[in-house]
Structures are given as C-alpha cells and as structure tokens.
C-alpha cells in the first residue's frame, strides 16, 4: 500500500498494525522506538489529509473540522510517545513496571491512537460511538496499570462512570437514528453524518431534543464537564503520566468533537431546542467549580487534572456561545490547551520521578534543584494561566471580549472563574518552583524536547498566527455556525 496515496486509511491502519506488533515484541527498548516511529508516520499521514482529501464515504470522511482535530491529535500523540520513551525507562529502572507491563502498555497506546483517529474520521454516528467506547476501555486498562490501591480505585471509578456515560450516548445515538429514519429511510444511510446534516432540517425536533440531552450527558461525562467529572482527577493522578497527557490533551477533545457534531445537527433544525445555552451553562459551572477546587489540591497531577476540567469548561462555553468569534476562540483554545497541558504533564512526570513523589508538600525550590524542569513548569503554568504573550491569553481574550459584547453578565462570571483559577495556580506554583529546596532531588534523565517544542509553539501562536491557519480556523468556525 502506498502511504502517500491513502492517508485516510493510513491513520487507521498504522496504529492498528503497530498495536498488534507491539503486543508481541518482547524488547521494551525497540518497542518504545517503534511506538515513536509509528506515531510519527501517522502524523505525516494526518498532515497529508490537508492536501489530499478523499470524498466522503459511508464510514469515513474528512472535512475542515475533523482535520483540525486529527492533526492536533496525531501531533500530540507523537510528542507524547517521545516523552513516554524516557518516562518508562525510568519506571522500569525503579521497578514500578515490568517488561511485560510495558508490552501491554505500548500495544494499548497504539490501540488508543487507533480508536481516537477512528472516532475523529468516522462518518457514521454508530461507528463514532464504538470508537469512543474503545478509547475509554483502553485508557481504563492503562490507568490501572500500576495495580496499586489508588490506581485500581481510579480505574474502577473511570470504568463505571465512563461506561454509564457511554451508555447514555448510545441511547442518544439510537434516538438520532429514530429521528432520521422517517426522512432518510431505513438502513445504514440514516446513521451517516453527511446524510444526517443534509436532511436534519426535516427531522422530528422533539426526538432530536431528547437525543441531544442524552448525548450531552453521555459525551459530556467523557469531556469531564462539572457535575459528571468525578472520574477525571483520579484517572489523571493514578495512571502513568504519558497517559495523563494523552487523556487531557486528546481524549477529552475527541469526546468534545462528538458533541460538536450533534450540536451542528441541532443547529440546522429550526424547531429544535437551542443547544447553546445548555453548553454555556455546563461550561460555566465547570470553570467556576474547577477554579475553586484548584485551591485544596495536594497532589500535583490531581491539580492539573482540575485545571483540565476548567479549560474544557472554557472550550465548551465558547462553542456554546457560538458565532464566528467565539467558535474561533474555542478552537484556538482547544489547540493551545492540548499543547500546553501535555507540556505541563511532561514536566510534571519528570518532576515526580526526580522527587519520588506527587505530593506538592514534598516539592520545593525546583528552579534551584532541577532548573530546566523547574523553569519549564513555570513557563507551562504561565501559559495555562493565560498570561500574555502566550497562545492561551489570545484565545481567552477573544472569548472574554466577545462574551462581554453579547452577554456581559456571563462575561463577569467567566472572568471571575478565570481569575480564581489563576490565583490558585500561582499560589501552588510558588511553593513548588521557588523557595527553599524541599524533598529528595535526584537528577532526572529527562527528554526536554517534547516539552519545549509544545511551549515554543504556544508562544509562537501567541505572538503570530500564520494567516493560513487563521483562514483555516475561520472556515471551521463558520462550519460550526
């Protein structure tokens, strides 16, 4: 098969084949390299999709929206695999993981990539659901990989809540099919997204409304929106750090993408309920709730997990507001958050290894003991808190200013949430990065390249966004309505 001609199949086939190979490969050293290579080739295939876009088929399709998601996903997957290679070498050294675990881990990593890519390019809402479920199951297994009390509890909680969410989403999907059947007719066509969007204006609005409520609750659980977020901090804190990075940076986005597809369906139907206010409410609740929760965290990974809830809240809020500027801001924020948050987790992973703990109380003066990691973390937190000139400042500024122009009251709440979260992050950062060195401090055998690549990109996007990217995002924003 020639890759340059079939990028659409390549983004699925490469991870699937690699997963099978990695499951059989005994040497972890080779496996880690193969993992990096496979994610890199997948990234190239995803970028090629920008130029060579096949017409929509019955099961797979590519448009501006999912192309943005898939390039981001494959890119972060690639850099995370580089980070993962150095991270697991250390875990193996201290005996937290055995080579057998690692074989399983690598196979699952590629299976997760396969599931996420499939979810993003699926043209069939049933297939999309299956992909999200597969992604959930693989991450459940990876979260529990350390087999400690905490890891098992986290995996169990994630499994139960994730499955319930996914069950609700399936019910919503069935209802969408029921709404589509009288218009499109029985059979596979009534689940094909491109057919649905063409005919959505004549669907029964009542069925669509009920369906959307289920889909919002179902996929919203996977996004980690506030009342449904309980699994997220545990899963992030107890799994291996590369998985935390992938969960925060990518899997939440995939669930969000599924939600956006259904939001677009409702937007086409004039009689259906407006999905915006529901999403705005859930987004805002997540932002404010997570901002307060940030204060009492004692575990560093748990803290950044709450920060992910906050940022997913901001993104859902932005897409809920809708309109060209808010959608643009949401899209930009999503990209920037993925890059920044995974960079932070790269830093945190090595920091936890150097310090031998995840407790914030046992860390201190990182900029003195491990200057590169310490300053990397400082830069990451400055970025995630939304200080200029970094990329997140830009997207938050766009969102806040457009919100004030349309709904000043919501704008005040949003800004309050952002500021509260900001305070918490810097309070903790101060004790982690500066002051008297505390706790153990081993040398970290770290790979700094992925972390600083992400941060450099975030900085570059904050200073100058290439016009091609702006028009691309504007097109996507228009698509989202």
């Amino acid at each position: 098969m020639n890759l340059s001609f079939e990028p659409l199949t390549a983004v699925l086939v490469i991870p699937a084949v690699t997963a099978a190979v990695l499951a059989l490969l005994p040497s972890y050293w080779v496996a880690a390299r193969l993992n990096v290579l496979a994610t890199f080739v997948t990234l190239i295939a995803a970028v090629l999709l920008l130029f060579d876009r096949p017409p929509p088929g019955g099961y797979l399709f590519v448009d501006d929206l999912n192309n943005a998601f898939i390039v981001l996903t494959t890119f972060v997957a690639f850099t995370t695999s580089v980070f993962s290679a150095s991270y697991i070498a250390h875990e193996l050294e201290i005996g937290r993981l055995t080579p057998n675990h690692l074989r399983f881990y690598h196979a699952m990593y590629q299976t997760l990539m396969f599931a996420m890519n499939l979810g993003l390019i699926a043209n069939n809402i049933g297939l999309m659901w299956v992909a999200v479920e597969l992604a959930t199951l693989t991450t459940v297994l990876m979260v529990g990989i350390y087999r400690t009390h905490e890891a098992l509890e986290a995996a169990w909680k994630y499994f139960i809540l994730g499955s319930v969410g996914i069950a609700l989403a399936l019910f919503g999907t069935i209802l969408v099919y029921m709404a589509a059947r009288p218009v499109i007719g029985e059979g596979a066509d009534a689940m094909v997204w491109t057919m649905l969007i063409k005919n959505a204006s004549s669907f029964s609005p009542e069925l669509l409304n009920v369906a959307f409520v289920f889909l919002l609750l179902g996929y919203g659980t996977k996004v980690g929106l506030a009342p449904l977020h309980a699994w997220l901090p545990d899963a992030h804190a107890e799994g291996p750090t590369p998985i935390s990075a992938v969960l925060s940076g990518l899997l939440l986005n995939v669930a969000l993408y599924a939600l956006l597809r259904f939001k677009m369906l409702l937007a086409v139907n004039p009689a259906a309920l407006a999905s915006g206010p529901l999403m705005v409410t859930m987004g805002l609740v997540s932002v404010v709730f997570a901002a307060f929760m940030l204060y009492r965290r004692r575990d560093i990974k748990r803290m950044f997990a709450y920060s992910s809830i906050e940022h997913m809240g901001i993104i859902v809020f932005a897409f809920g507001m809708g309109g060209p500027i808010a959608n643009f801001a949401g899209l930009l924020h999503m990209t920037m958050h993925s890059l920044t948050k995974s960079a932070i987790f790269f830093a945190v992973g090595h920091i936890a290894q150097a310090k031998g703990t995840q407790k914030i109380a046992d860390m201190g003066g990182l900029t003195e003991t491990n200057p590169v990691l310490g300053w990397g973390l400082v830069l990451g937190v400055v970025a995630i808190a939304g200080l200029p000139p970094l990329g997140i400042f830009m997207s938050e500024f766009l969102l806040v200013s457009s919100t004030f122009a349309r709904q000043p009251l919501l704008g005040i709440l949003l800004v309050a949430g952002l500021l509260i979260g900001f305070g918490a992050l810097f309070l903790r950062l101060n004790s982690i990065a500066f002051g008297e060195p505390r706790g153990a401090s081993a040398e970290a055998k770290a790979s700094y390249v992925p972390m600083f690549t992400h941060l450099a990109l975030v900085l570059a996007a904050g200073v100058y966004l290439p016009p091609q990217m702006v028009t691309w995002f504007q097109n996507v924003a228009k698509l989202l309505g």
């Binding site: 049933g126 139960i160 099919y177 009288p182 009534a190 029964s204 069925l207």
Partner: protein
C-alpha cells in the same frame, strides 16, 4: 393490521421493566432479565422479518442468561461476599424512585416520539425506563457485583432500544460484541485484581484508599 405483534412486544418489554424492578431488591433475577430480553429481541426479529436480529437474541440468552450469571455466582462464592444487598438508600424509597423514573420516561418518550411507529415508540419508552432503573441501581448499591449487574441491565435496555429502532444498522451486533468485552473485562481484570489487593469487592473499602481524603 392486527395488534397482536404489538401486544406481545409490549408484554415482553413490560416484563423487562418488571424484572428491572425486581433487580432493585434482589440480584438473582439478573439471568431472567436477559432471558426476557432475548425473547423480546427474538420477537422483534420475527415481526420485523429481520433474521439477523436472532443473533443478538441468542447471545443474550447464552451469554447473559447463562454464562455470566454462573460466573458471577462463582465469583461471589469464591470471594465470600455476603449475599445481602447493601444499600445506600432503603429498598422502599428506591422502589418509589423507580416508579417515578418509569413514569417520567413514559411521559418523555411517548410525547417525543409521537411521530414514530407505535411499536418502536413504546419499546423506546420501556427501554428508557430500564436504562434509568439500571442507573438507579448503580447509584444506590455499594458493592461492585451489584454495580456490574446494574450496568448490564443498562446494556440490556440499550439492546432493546436498538432492536426496536427498525432497520438500525451495525449497532446491534456491535453493542452485543461490546457487552461481551465489557463483561470479560469486568469479571476477569477487575474483580480478580481487586480480590488480590483488597480482599474485598466492596467499594467502601476502596474509598478508604483515596489519594486525597476530603
């Protein structure tokens, strides 16, 4: 058109709701839940003249009606879990809540799906109440086995909904395949590891090992 097919479908789907209620106060009827599901799906296959639906019916009967209940039973014995149901909310209030949820799903679905054909509409309403009862069970029960059973009854409800939606492609087979997978993962991985580490499958015991006590 005779209303006979409709009546039988109602009877079977209504039977599933009834068994869902029974599940709220005792776990042993889980196999019965699957058997009624199987009959209901088989009836849909016959009425809709869709032979491929016999496959999920057979899977529900063999796997969920026989294999998983037997496996769960053995797990319960091996782990020495006491058989009583440990509840967060008392059984009486739970049943009342269940009645409320069933009424709610009838009101919502019958109104929302007014345009759909009656067979699909009322099966969807039943499916929604089974789903909500399953959720209720997961919320009000403490031990892991009853949560698994609650989750599987949710899956049964979903399969009922998927078969009622006439001509729904792909998803029936896939959701069945996934329920197999889910069952394996739950029983194989979690229970045995939890046993290995905790000597208990009670979630309260798990709660004590939280990373952060609140």
């Amino acid at each position: 058109m005779s209303t006979f097919p409709l009546d039988v479908a109602h009877l079977l789907a209504g039977g599933m709701v009834l068994v869902s209620f029974m599940l709220l106060y005792q776990l042993n009827v889980f196999a019965l839940h699957a058997v009624v599901l199987s009959a209901s799906v088989a009836w849909q296959a016959y009425v809709q003249n869709a032979p491929h639906l016999y496959v999920p019916a057979a899977i529900a009967l063999v796997l969920k009606g026989i294999i998983i209940p037997v496996a769960l039973h053995r797990v319960v014995i091996r782990l020495g879990i006491h058989r009583g149901i440990e509840t967060v909310v008392g059984i009486g209030p739970t049943l009342l809540l269940g009645v409320g949820l069933t009424a709610l799903s009838m009101v919502v679905m019958l109104k929302a799906a007014e345009t759909a054909d009656p067979l699909a509409r009322e099966d969807l309403a039943f499916a929604l109440s089974i789903l909500l009862l399953g959720l209720l069970m997961m919320v009000t029960r403490r031990n892991a086995v009853s949560q698994i059973v609650g989750f599987m009854s949710i899956e049964n409800g979903l399969i009922l909904a998927a078969t009622a939606a006439r001509g729904m492609p792909l998803v029936v087979e896939i959701s069945v395949a996934f329920s197999v997978l889910v069952a394996f993962i739950v029983i194989g991985v979690f229970l045995f590891r939890i046993r290995e580490r905790f000597d208990s499958v009670e979630l309260q015991a798990l709660d004590e090992f939280r990373g952060e006590r609140r």
